[in-house]
């Protein structure tokens, strides 16, 4: 088998385990690993071997300040939901309960899964929307947000982030923002009263939203994020919520200082421009 760069990815398992590959080569190997269980086993074993080399490095005592700095950031660093593990392959560890419990229904939602096919109720109510809210000043925008009645999805939406690589990238982004020297925060509530926080770093041009107990949407809808400024509203990614715990998402694309960040409910997969009023909007300046 030959990769796009003319390499045989099977030769690269050692370099892969040692993190000695470029991003492109790494992607080639990962594509190859997808199709080969024996290669996955080899990479796993070689990675464990590499970690043994890591444990052999001379320990260095960190400063006391590092410990307090990390501990102080825990409360604002959301933990990932566990990946659903195929029971036949790897039995879940009994001592690690699954959080947030994926089977939980939103408190006030109807239940049947078939409801997922129901028509998007928010879209219709909110699309007769008047002006384009995202072109108005933030004050107006916040008022509009408060007036929206949000349909609470009646079915469990599933874990929003199933793709492992995506999750890792999201986690890394969140850590970058939280650990940045210029992290800022703005807290508000959504139109139906859930506490919502925007964290951002102007130096990184990154931001993330966190919403507590954000209702799960049906299968035909997603929450969509927007960066809004004088140039208009730029789509910045979609997400869904399990209905309990904290839903969060690092926004796609670059944030510019002073941008407003909004969340709307859109048809599944998102829209090119907002089609509904926002459930929440943050001004970052």
């Amino acid at each position: 088998m030959t990769g796009p760069r003319g390499d045989n990815p099977a030769d690269l398992t050692g370099a892969y385990a040692l993190n000695a590959l470029s991003a492109d080569e790494k992607a080639d190997v990962e594509a190859y690993l997808d199709g080969s269980e024996s290669a996955r086993t080899e990479v796993h074993e070689l990675s464990e071997t590499a970690a043994a080399l890591g444990l052999a490095a001379e320990p260095v005592q960190p400063s006391a300040a590092l410990r307090s700095s990390i501990m102080a950031k825990l409360a604002s660093t959301p933990q990932l939901a566990p990946v659903a593990v195929a029971p036949a392959a790897v039995p879940p560890l009994p001592s690690v309960p699954m959080i947030p419990a994926p089977a939980e229904e939103p408190a006030d939602g109807p239940t049947a899964t078939s409801d997922a096919e129901a028509s998007p109720r928010v879209g219709t109510a909110a699309t007769r929307a008047h002006k384009r809210w995202f072109q108005r000043p933030t004050q107006v925008l916040l008022a509009a947000a408060a007036a929206v009645v949000l349909f609470v999805g009646g079915t469990f939406a599933g874990q929003a982030f199933n793709d492992n690589q995506f999750v890792e990238q999201q986690a890394a982004g969140m850590v970058q923002i939280t650990a940045a020297s210029d992290t800022q925060r703005a807290a508000t509530t959504t139109s139906d009263g859930h506490s919502a926080t925007l964290v951002w770093s102007n130096s990184l041009g990154l931001s993330a939203v966190l919403v507590k107990d954000l209702p799960a949407l049906g299968n035909d809808q997603d929450y969509q994020l927007w960066y809004i400024n004088a140039a208009g509203a730029a789509p910045a990614g979609t997400f869904d919520s399990t209905g309990s715990g904290t839903a969060w998402r690092v926004l796609d694309g670059a944030m510019h200082a002073g941008d407003t960040v909004g969340i709307t409910v859109e048809p599944r997969g998102g829209s090119e421009q907002p089609t509904t009023d926002p459930i929440v909007a943050f001004q970052s300046s």
Binding site: L18, A51, L93, A171
Partner: protein
């Protein structure tokens, strides 16, 4: 003040705390900050040791160590004890993050100017002589000694030096294909010597 602390390493951490790192990680997955603090105390010197080995600069190494521990906090829910020990999981994450930092342009240039003309090929010997008291170091040292010198150089440059296989090929002035083979054969040999199996 802070400088003094480096002489006061607790190298026998396992006997101090009744909970294993795996158990602590399971509690961290539930949002237990105390357990996280204990896990930090147990393994932070190892993490910083590896990161500093790669990055050289202490302040920058502490920054990256902070990122690593926040990632541990975030992703503890995804740790699978059936797939390997907690230390392995953490050191794998630490190495990846340190290497990411090296590859981010400015950090890599700063590091290169600090390393200067130091001969990285001997880096492994330095580790072996300073920490040989520890069992795992002895195990690794012994396993490393079973590699050919060329395998050992290539593996050390890649792992402890944080160089890509292309860079290793340039430093050792050998073809890339040869480096690939040495890295893989070297690690396989180490795996067998260390008895790593999944």
């Amino acid at each position: 003040m802070l400088g003094l602390m480096t002489t006061d390493l607790n190298l026998d951490d396992s006997s101090v705390d009744p909970l294993s790192k795996e158990e602590l990680l399971a509690r961290v997955a539930l949002g237990d900050e105390l357990a996280f603090g204990e896990l930090y105390d147990q393994i932070a010197p190892r993490v910083l040791g590896l990161v500093k080995r790669l990055l050289i600069d202490h302040a920058q190494s502490e920054e990256v160590t902070q990122e690593i521990f926040l990632e541990i906090w975030q992703t503890a829910t995804r740790y699978e004890a059936t797939r390997g020990g907690a230390s392995t999981w953490i050191m794998t994450m630490a190495h990846r993050r340190a290497v990411d930092r090296i590859r981010s342009s400015q950090a890599g240039r700063d590091r290169d100017s600090k390393i200067g003309i130091r001969d990285l090929a001997v880096a492994y010997d330095h580790v072996a002589e300073t920490v040989e008291v520890r069992i795992e170091h002895e195990r690794v040292e012994k396993a490393m000694s079973r590699l050919t010198q060329l395998q050992r150089q290539a593996v050390s440059l890649a792992y402890y030096g944080g160089y890509t296989h292309n860079e290793v090929a340039g430093m050792l002035e050998i073809p890339l294909g040869t480096v690939k083979t040495r890295l893989r054969d070297g690690l396989i040999r180490l795996r067998d010597e260390l008895g790593v199996a999944s």
